[in-house]
């Protein structure tokens, strides 16, 4: 276990380093001069040069990179090239929307995907099971934008149950309204990701339904349901956990589109705006934060999976 942890932490650190280098290097080959873009076409060459010096863009690329990474540890990600606002506090503030959204989407995806997946497997020879599997296949293919539009059309426009768009200006100072604003976006991501989780849960459950230990448990006197719940579902849970490692990346990335669709002030929407404005100091930090979250979640899932799965424990010790 210790060896595994050391290796996994190392992979995480190297992963973050590689991510930061790729992001930084890619953005520095920007076609066109960053200072020129910021200054605008009207600026004189002297003004552009002054701005370049002011922004620190005249220094060697390696120094700029180390400056960025060093600042990351001090919680200082520099200033926006366009608005001159500090980047770190803004990202932190936007995360207060994106992280709850991702967490709520995860809950929605699990609540939708896991029980229905198990049900679809148990009803494998009945029409109900086939219908669930068919619908999951269809929903998993729906573009997230359209899924959001359908939910808005149903719950906001037709039924008037929930707000169509937006987030309260006071943020979480109005917890009820903030929560309500996130319900439809979370359901949007949760439905599409939930369909994917459903399909994995179903095939994992199908696998354990006929596993020897589950059949034996049923043979020595447990009912089929007891046997499945006690001896089958723990291993299904492990499969779902392993799938989550990949799917949580989907949740965070889904947030980029969904925040735009529902006008939520999160990191995803901020990224889309800043990419449009070519505000590279912000773009590089936003991308690193989002990628870092994906890598961290992958790390956490791997460690938890390793701790919980007795088969993997036996191999390592």
């Amino acid at each position: 276990m210790t060896r595994f942890l050391i290796g996994r932490v190392l992979l995480l650190v190297v992963g973050l380093l590689v991510a930061s280098v790729i992001i930084f290097a890619t953005l520095r080959v920007l076609p066109g001069d960053v200072a020129q873009i910021v200054a605008g076409t009207q600026a004189s060459p002297a003004q552009v040069a002054e701005l370049r010096q002011q922004l620190g863009l005249d220094r060697p690329v390696v120094v700029q990179y180390l400056d960025w990474i060093g600042g990351l540890f001090r919680g200082d990600l520099g200033r926006s090239l366009v608005t001159d606002g500090r980047v770190a506090p803004e990202i932190a503030q936007k995360l207060s929307v994106t992280l709850p959204l991702a967490a709520m989407s995860l809950v929605a995806a699990l609540v939708i995907g896991v029980p229905l997946g198990v049900l679809a497997a148990v009803l494998r020879r009945r029409p109900g099971g086939a219908v669930i599997a068919f619908v999951a296949q269809a929903v998993a293919a729906i573009p997230i934008v359209w899924a959001g539009m359908l939910l808005v059309a149903l719950f906001a426009v037709t039924l008037h149950w929930l707000p169509t768009q937006g987030f309260p200006l006071d943020g979480w100072d109005e917890p009820g309204r903030a929560f309500a604003a996130l319900v439809l976006p979370a359901l949007t991501i949760g439905a599409v990701e939930g369909a994917v989780i459903l399909r994995f849960t179903r095939s994992a459950t199908l696998g354990v339904l006929d596993a020897d230990h589950v059949r034996t448990a049923a043979a020595i006197g447990l009912t089929r349901t007891q046997a499945l719940v006690k001896h089958g579902l723990p291993s299904v849970a492990l499969t779902v956990l392993a799938v989550l490692g990949v799917q949580i990346a989907g949740l965070l990335v889904g947030a980029v589109v969904v925040e735009q669709l529902f006008s939520l002030p999160g990191v995803g929407r901020m990224l889309v705006t800043d990419v449009g404005r070519r505000d590279i100091t912000k773009v590089q930090s936003e991308l690193l934060v989002l990628t870092g979250l994906v890598l961290l979640v992958g790390f956490a899932v791997d460690v938890v999976h390793r701790t919980l799965d007795p088969r993997q424990r036996e191999v390592s010790e």
């Binding site: 992979l11 296949q137 998993a140 539009m149 965070l252 980029v256 589109v257």
Partner: protein
């Protein structure tokens, strides 16, 4: 293999939908019912009629014609991403299995890291430097899935290289190239095809997402994604108008991912001939054989 593919309802569905898509894309090159870009302010939001099969949109454009023209973009994005993913995947696989030991292991670690990068973030990164375009969508999906293919192929190729039949072939004097083309390539091909169809499905979804964000197809290219983006503005007035492009995207994506499933099932040697004949319904795997159901997890 094609015959086995078509023995399944899912395989037939996938082949029919994708075949139709390609035919429609070719047709749209020479003919659409109306000019897909001609705005007609006097005929906004018309219901379906003989002149406008699917009605008209906010600027009076003929929805059927625009959808038809959009098939080209969908095919272009899917095929383009597939080609790039294949090339990148094969190059990385070759580097990861044919070079010196330290290069191989370095590549392995790098692939483990790169595979975690979400496609959409790669696309945003490239958009930040190159501006939004279909090219960026194609390149970013191609790169992402090239990495995934190489990562998945690594394990498969190691498994095949260690297998008894490769050992036997080597023992009987078959050289490196012989093993490569007679054993490695044919046995890794199904896995490759599955990943490729997933890459193409992701490409279609990514195009929709990025065009929606304003970074995909330009305004002079018909695309289902930008159609969704246009219609979102009117969601309060015409909430169901996005059904056409949305359903078109979902249909193509479902067909591509079912094609992957069907190819996997049709080529899985663990499925016996009886299982193949028995497979049917939306769940092509025969649930009674644990060996076959486990394949759903590995994909």
């Amino acid at each position: 293999m094609i015959r086995r593919l078509l023995a399944r309802p899912t395989g037939v569905f996938a082949v029919v939908v994708l075949g139709l898509l390609v035919v429609l894309a070719v047709v749209s090159l020479v003919w659409t019912p109306q000019d897909p870009f001609r705005a007609d302010p006097f005929h906004q939001w018309e219901p379906p009629s003989p002149a406008h099969w699917f009605g008209t949109d906010a600027s009076g454009r003929d929805i059927a014609s625009y959808l038809l023209a959009g098939t080209r973009t969908t095919v272009l994005v899917a095929v383009g991403s597939g080609v790039i993913a294949s090339v990148v995947g094969m190059v990385l696989t070759a580097i990861g299995s044919l070079t010196a030991r330290w290069v191989r292991e370095g590549t392995a670690v790098l692939l483990d890291i790169l595979v975690a990068f979400p496609t959409l973030l790669t696309a945003m990164l490239l958009t930040a430097i190159a501006g939004g375009s279909l090219g960026v969508v194609i390149v970013s999906v191609g790169l992402s899935f090239g990495v995934t293919i190489a990562r998945v192929a690594r394990g498969e190729i190691r498994r095949i290289a260690r297998s008894d039949y490769v050992t036997a072939a080597r023992a009987s004097g078959v050289g490196g190239a012989g093993v490569l083309f007679r054993h490695l390539v044919p046995n890794a091909a199904p896995l490759f095809t599955v990943q490729l169809s997933l890459a193409m499905a992701t490409a279609v979804l990514a195009e929709a997402g990025l065009s929606y964000l304003g970074y995909g197809a330009g305004s002079n290219t018909a695309s289902w994604g930008s159609m969704l983006a246009d219609l979102q503005t009117y969601i309060g007035v015409h909430p169901w108008s996005a059904t056409w492009p949305g359903a078109a995207i979902a249909l193509v994506v479902a067909a591509l991912s079912l094609l992957g499933d069907a190819v996997r099932d049709a080529t899985d040697p663990r499925l016996t001939t009886n299982d193949r004949a028995a497979g049917g319904g939306p769940a092509p795997r025969t649930p009674d054989d644990p060996a076959t159901t486990s394949t759903g997890v590995t994909a």
